[in-house]
Structures are given as structure tokens and as C-alpha cells.
């Protein structure tokens, strides 16, 4: 397997690794280590949960292939200062092209997206779908 320069950079020097704690921190996770891919995002927002709030910091943990780690690291790094929104700042397709990710890894990218959505729902107070259980407050 060969990796794009961007993937290699964010895999080798993944920033924003870890967890956040405190009343303004919220967590979302998706996937499972037993199944091979698991991602968790912790997001710290200015005042929450409500829409329109700003992300102060984001941290992630990821068990997965280099693409999963690189995309998670990139998303966490890009998040600070942005408005907290449930949807990803870029579409899955755009992320796939940006990182040069093979199409057969689309399912793993969707787990990254699910983790992001789960974290942002708790942070913004957006409705949670039945199929995506809300993660406990950190």
C-alpha cells in the first residue's frame, strides 16, 4: 500500500491526539476495535450545547489504518476556531480525494464521519438519531 504525502504526514505526525475533559467537552465515537476501526472525537466548545457555538479544541483517538488516523488528525487540527456543526467540514468524497484514499476504504471513512457527527450532536444539542446513541458527557 502506498500513501499520499498528506496521509503520510498526518499519520507520522498526528497532532491533537488525546482526550478532553471538563464541562464544555463532549465526546462522540463510532466503530469498534474488534472490527478493526474505531474513532473517538472529543470537542471543547465555547458554550454548549447549542448551535452556533465555536470549537475551542478537538482531540481524537483512533484505532485503524493510516488513512483513518491521518483523516482524524487532520479534522481535529482543522476544527479549532470553526463553528461547531454536525456535518463534516468537507464531504467524504472530498476527503477521499484530498488524502488519495482507495475507494475500498470508504467504509472506514464513514466511521470517521460517524464519530464526528456523534461528537458534534452532543456539543450542539442537535437531535440524535435512534441508531446513533449519544455518548456520555465527559
Amino acid at each position: 500500500v502506498t500513501y499520499s504525502e498528506l496521509t503520510r504526514r498526518y499519520f507520522d505526525d498526528a497532532a491533537c491526539v488525546g482526550v478532553l475533559a471538563g464541562p464544555d467537552s463532549f465526546r462522540g465515537a463510532a466503530g469498534s476495535r474488534a472490527q478493526g476501526t474505531w474513532v473517538q472525537f472529543d470537542v471543547q466548545v465555547s458554550s454548549a450545547p447549542r448551535s452556533g457555538t465555536t470549537i475551542h479544541a478537538m482531540r481524537f483517538l483512533a484505532f485503524g489504518c493510516p488513512h483513518v488516523i491521518a483523516v482524524s488528525a487532520w479534522l481535529a487540527e482543522q476544527a479549532a476556531g470553526r463553528e461547531a456543526r454536525v456535518s463534516l467540514p468537507e464531504s467524504i468524497q472530498s476527503l477521499r480525494e484530498r488524502f488519495g484514499i482507495p475507494v475500498d476504504k470508504l467504509g472506514r471513512l464513514l466511521i470517521v464521519e460517524d464519530a464526528w457527527i456523534a461528537a458534534m450532536r452532543t456539543a450542539t444539542g442537535a437531535p440524535v438519531l435512534e441508531s446513533r446513541p449519544q455518548q456520555p458527557h465527559v
Binding site: 500500500v1 499519520f11 483517538l61 483512533a62 484505532f63 485503524g64 489504518c65 493510516p66
Partner: protein, 386 residues
């Protein structure tokens, strides 16, 4: 390339004396003739080299020169052994016995024969990868025509008791015994005559010879018979038609002559390097050795808990060249079927690395590997929260 090569079980560099001998068979100044051209001295000269190489390979494994059939490698040798035996003896029976941990070049022909109506019994080894010879005996049936068991496993390095299996086969069955010895010659003793097997597959590039060269040893004494798989020219006793690649087989002969019986000091040196590697890795948390202490001296297979396999390989790749399984299957990015057969779950089977040590490996190389794996594990486990 700056990274440390620890993938000698996948392939080895061609030894300089081997390369020199091969080069002498290529150009107009050398022995470039077709060894089947009996009508002129160019052909005669090439044929002499081919036969000399045949004698070298035979001598290295305790066989007779007439028992050596050149192939393009161990995969072709395995295919010739399995299909050739199955087709030749199809009126006698259509049952084959093999193991779940065999190389793909044994398992895939068996699967194909199943599609064509043969029955195959796949034996399960114990958690260290070992077969009890009694398992083989228990699987034999009146219609069993072939037993195919590898000598040294290519992923975990365990050595099967071939002599015991051969004795049981001879006692209780007319089945032919085929042994894939691609990973054993040059690393542990291989004596074709003493083992009592019918067919033995060999590879040149595992022992500092060229890729694209191999052989199937077909026992004359035991009267093994094969149906050919390709026709046209009748070379290799009509078992493998096609012009013999003089430079390739000359290279294989030279490599086998060099690899025969490595000095005890070299075997000990490699064994010590492997133990140094294992000692360095075992101190890390969640490290499991596959194949136990029964593995051949040059090969160490280890599973690492709490990390994902592809990321582990990507993380160590800049520093060391290792494999996540056999080189032939690692491109599939699937968990090792060998490790799964040993009872490892998918995650541990995925997060395994095969380190294989060779002639040019140094203490410094091993220490580099330990540092690279340690750093990768610590970093990936921190990222994974494990």
C-alpha cells in the same frame, strides 16, 4: 534504500558468485546455446552446464540428479506435484490430505481440484502450528492419492516431522507424499533420500539464488509418477516441456552448492540474532510469539496487541523491511490464514510481523528493528488509546 532488510523469508539477494555464473550464460561470449540443441557445440555446452547444475541441486538435498525436474520456482513445483499426481492417479483415487497452514501454492491447487471433483482433507495444526503425524495417518483413506505437507512453514517457521509422516504414510497407504521445502533448504537439514518422501519442492531465490528458478524432486526409487501439465518439446523427461533457462538453473545450482550445510557458526549467529530480537520485543507489553520456540533459527513471527496491522506496518516501514505474513499473501491485506488457523483472532492475525534474518543481517540491524517497533507500538497505542 536505507531501511534494514529483515524479510529474507520472502526473498534473498543473489550471491555475487551466483550472479557471476549466471552472467556467463547470457551473452555471445558465454554459454548462450539452447541446452536442447544436441546438434552443435553451443547446445552441448549449455546442456553440460544444465546437467552440472542438476547434479549440484541433487547433491545439496540428497537426491539423484535424474530426480531433479526444473521449474520456474516452488509455486510451479507445488502445482506440478499436486496436479500431476492427482491426474496421474485419478483412476486409483481422488482424495488428498493437506494442512490449513500450507502455502497458497498448495492450497489453491487443492481448491481447484475440489472444484473438479476431488476431495481434500485439511488438517488443523495445534496452537503452535505443529501437526501430529497421527493426524495425517488418521486422515488417510483407501482412495487417498496424495499427502502434501510443508517442511518449514513460511509464516511462522515451525518444522513438521516429515520423516514420521512419511513413515506413517508408507505403512498405511499407497498415497504419495509431497513436501514443500522452499523455506527449509539452507536453514535446516534436508535429505530427500532419508526423509522418505516422493516429491520435494525447492526454490532458488530463498537461498541467494535467482527468482524464477526452482525444482521438483521426483523420487525414482519410490517410483513416483506424474502427469505433465504442459506439453511441447518433451524437456525434463516430458514432465515440463519448454526450453530450460540455462542461466537460471546454473544460478540455482551454484546457490544450492553454496547454501548446502551452512557452517554451524553461521546457524548459531543467526539464532543468536533472532533471540536478541525476541528479547528486545518481548519486554514490550502485549507481544505474542507465533510458532513458539520450534521455529527455524532465521524466522520470528510476533503479534502485537492494541495496534492495527496496516498502521503497524506503515509505522515501521521507513526503518525496517518486514512482512505481515507471507510475501505472496501480504499484498491481499487480509489477516493471515495461517495465524487464524492457529487460533489467533483477526486483529492479532492482522497485527503480526514476520521478521526473517539472513546472511547479511547484523546486530545493529536487529537493534534498529527493536527501536523501530518499540516507537511504533508506543505511538500507535497512544493514538488508539489502548
Amino acid at each position: 534504500m536505507n531501511c534494514v532488510y529483515l524479510d529474507y523469508a520472502a526473498t534473498t539477494p543473489v550471491a555475487p558468485p551466483v550472479a557471476a555464473r549466471m552472467a556467463q550464460c547470457l551473452t555471445v561470449e558465454g554459454t548462450f546455446g539452447n541446452p536442447a540443441s544436441a546438434g552443435h557445440e553451443y547446445g552441448d555446452a549449455a546442456a553440460q552446464l544444465v546437467e552440472a547444475a542438476r547434479a549440484q541441486v541433487a547433491a545439496a538435498v540428497g537426491a539423484k540428479a535424474a530426480e531433479v525436474v526444473w521449474t520456474s520456482g516452488a509455486t510451479e513445483a507445488n502445482n506440478l506435484a499436486i496436479f500431476g499426481t492427482a491426474l496421474y492417479y485419478q483412476e486409483s483415487g481422488r482424495h488428498i490430505v493437506t494442512a490449513r497452514t500450507e502455502h497458497k501454492s498448495v492450497l489453491d491447487p487443492c481448491r481447484e481440484l475440489e472444484r473438479r471433483g476431488w476431495r481434500v482433507s485439511y488438517l488443523s495444526p495445534d496452537r503452535e502450528g505443529m501437526l501430529d503425524p497421527g493426524q495425517v495417518a488418521g486422515a488417510l483413506r483407501p482412495d487417498t492419492v496424495l499427502v502434501s505437507i510443508m517442511h518449514v512453514n513460511n509464516e511462522i517457521g515451525v518444522t513438521q516431522d516429515i520423516a514420521a509422516i512419511a513413515a506413517l504414510c508408507a505403512e498405511s497407504s499407497a498415497a504419495r507424499l509431497h513436501v514443500d521445502a522452499a523455506q527449509s533448504f539452507g536453514k535446516c537439514p534436508v535429505d530427500f533420500g532419508a526423509l522418505g518422501v516422493d516429491l520435494l519442492s525447492l526454490s532458488a531465490h530463498k537461498v541467494y539464488g535467482p527468482k524464477g528458478a526452482g525444482a521438483l524432486i521426483v523420487s525414482g526409487e519410490r517410483g513416483a509418477r506424474l502427469a505433465p501439465l504442459q506439453y511441447g518439446g518433451g524437456q525434463e523427461r516430458a514432465l515440463r516441456s519448454g526450453t530450460v533457462a540455462t542461466h537460471q538453473v546454473v544460478g540455482m545450482g551454484e546457490a544450492f552448492a553454496l547454501a548446502k550445510g551452512p557452517p554451524p557458526s553461521e546457524i548459531e549467529r543467526i539464532a543468536l540474532l533472532k533471540e536478541r530480537l525476541w528479547e528486545g520485543l518481548r519486554s514490550l507489553r502485549g507481544v505474542l510469539r507465533n510458532g513458539g520456540a520450534r521455529a527455524v533459527p532465521h524466522l520470528l513471527n510476533v503479534s502485537f496487541e492494541g495496534v492495527e496491522g496496516e498502521s503497524l506496518l506503515a509505522a515501521v516501514r521507513p526503518s525496517i523491511a518486514v512482512s505481515t505474513g507471507s510475501a505472496c499473501t501480504s499484498i491481499n491485506q487480509e489477516p493471515s490464514y495461517v495465524l487464524r488457523a492457529l487460533g489467533r483472532d483477526d486483529r492479532l492475525a492482522e497485527s503480526s510481523l514476520r521478521f526473517s534474518i539472513g546472511r547479511f543481517t547484523t546486530v545493529s540491524d536487529v537493534d534498529t528493528a527493536v527501536v523501530a517497533v518499540t516507537r511504533a507500538l508506543e505511538r500507535l497505542r497512544r493514538i488508539a488509546g489502548t
